[in-house]
Subunit: 305 residues, 2 copies
């Protein structure tokens, strides 16, 4: 690998940004990595772990002379961060972000940035249930998709460089339009997360079924929901509030289908249930063939009866 | 390990029974393992793989002189199987099952069996997304819970032997009453499975979001639902129809909570969302501490943004 940017500034130092720092360093992709975070504790941890070359007190300092600026905060504050850094951006710099929703980020960030920089929104589809600066690791993006959303007038060289950075960190890269991105992610991520949060909340509420039983017997299916529902609360609050329309649309369809299945259970319509459950197997096979999951039978994760 | 039963008969040779055969053989727990299945194809596969010492054409033949008979068919046919084998059971034999619901199985099987045998219902909380006689493996039950539901008048020696068999296959064993079992499983397994099936069905219906996109970007959360929703359709149809009341009760609570969260999204109530998402993290920690999942950050399974 060779250097792609002379200086990269990371604003926000959670799971994604710290993983980017580890991955850029492992690949020699950046001359200097500068990081900053709003919280003094996060900055202290970042200094202790040393995944950035420099950690600055303010975002304004961090972006100075940076060729690439990465907004890696919760999406709800990205507009404010953009306004804060705008006067300090180097002309010709590229600004990107790693937010899970794109229309709201583009609407909030775009107008704050000067014409002398190019904003190329991005979204790495990678993560774990852990958050914060200690949770990052260099291989997080490997064989995972990163979606870039270059505006029509973006310079091709700028887009190619940002793509090369993500590929250098091991990611597959794809391009998408903002509204389509938000709908696809509502299906593949946002609705499933809200549903998982809900189911875990219901289990928590049921006092007849003691906590220890829910936990002991979680391998029967519930466990997979708890992993999803352990993700960062602030990040997810912002995701749902900023991708409101698409998320609610998918949840509406979900509720409709769920009612139809509940009715089939209530009326004893076994054929309806069987046909529905058969159909969903095909999607699973597609995911395994696409290399986005493994078929390994258990390794501690079997979905069980 | 030493021999616990002289002859064990397995009725139905899917994932659970074939895994039991592999595990019993690995541990030397049974003198002879006899298996049977309704489908000629399943019997042929079982003969080819050789995990049973003998494969018989009928259940009546299989149970002859067996000390332990394991009903491992879908729960919807267990009553009929019990009626079929009843005249052929050895006096003093123990009959058990591995069904995912217990009240309905007890009501269907119990009355069919002669007084000369003891029925001790069971439920191993283990499985994978795969089904059929080729999917079994000896370590499926290792460090997973098996719930036994001995009737009040069961002989202690009979219960202890069955427990020893499950422990010999690597399982943890717990006792529970039938109705409580069905409620706990509705929370930890049945409702999560129906919800996962529903979400995968919704994604399949959405023609604007092409199949390939749903599959490509599934690592963002959806993937975990598809694994659950790939389980055996016949087994799950029977589970929902036989644990109707508890499943519908939990789904009713789930829908209530989901509506409250949808409303919070619609009205922009970020505090409600944040508080809800924070609460669900504690359950996740409990599961990891209980050894029922691993904290490993990814191994191809990160729940992502």
């Amino acid at each position: 690998m060779s250097r792609i940017y002379d200086r990269v500034a990371l604003i926000g130092l959670g799971l994604i940004a710290s993983s980017m720092a580890h991955a850029m360093r492992a690949g020699g992709l950046a001359g200097e990595i500068v990081g900053t975070a709003r919280s003094a504790e996060t900055r202290a941890v970042a200094r202790e772990l040393g995944f950035c070359d420099r950690v600055t007190e303010t975002a304004a300092e961090a972006v100075r002379d940076a060729d690439l600026v990465v907004l890696a905060t919760p999406v709800g504050v990205m507009g404010a961060v953009a306004a804060e850094i705008a006067p300090h951006l180097k002309p010709g710099a590229v600004v990107t972000d790693v937010g899970s929703v794109k229309r709201a980020v583009i609407d909030a960030v775009g107008p704050e940035l000067p014409d002398t920089v190019t904003f190329i929104p991005g979204h790495p589809l990678a993560g774990t249930e852990h958050s914060g600066p200690r949770s990052g690791f260099a291989t997080l993006f490997r064989k995972r998709w990163t979606i870039l959303l270059p505006p029509d007038d973006a310079d091709e060289t700028d887009v190619a460089r940002l793509r090369a950075l993500w590929e250098g960190m091991g990611a597959y890269v794809d391009y998408m339009a903002p509204d389509h991105h938000d709908l696809v992610l509502a299906v593949t991520s946002h609705a499933p997360h809200l549903i998982a949060y809900t189911m875990v909340g219901v289990a928590d509420d049921l006092r007849r079924v003691t906590d220890s039983e829910v936990i002991k017997y979680s391998a029967a299916g519930f466990r997979d929901f708890t992993r999803i529902a352990a993700s960062d609360p602030t990040m997810w609050r912002d995701v749902f509030l900023s991708n409101r329309e698409a998320t609610l649309e998918i949840l509406g369809r979900f509720t409709e289908e769920l009612f139809a299945l509940q009715r089939a259970i209530r009326t004893g319509d076994g054929d309806h249930l069987h046909a529905y459950f058969t159909r969903t197997r095909a999607i699973r096979r597609g995911i395994i063939e696409a290399g986005q999951d493994t078929e390994a039978p258990d390794f501690g994760r079997g979905s069980a009866s």
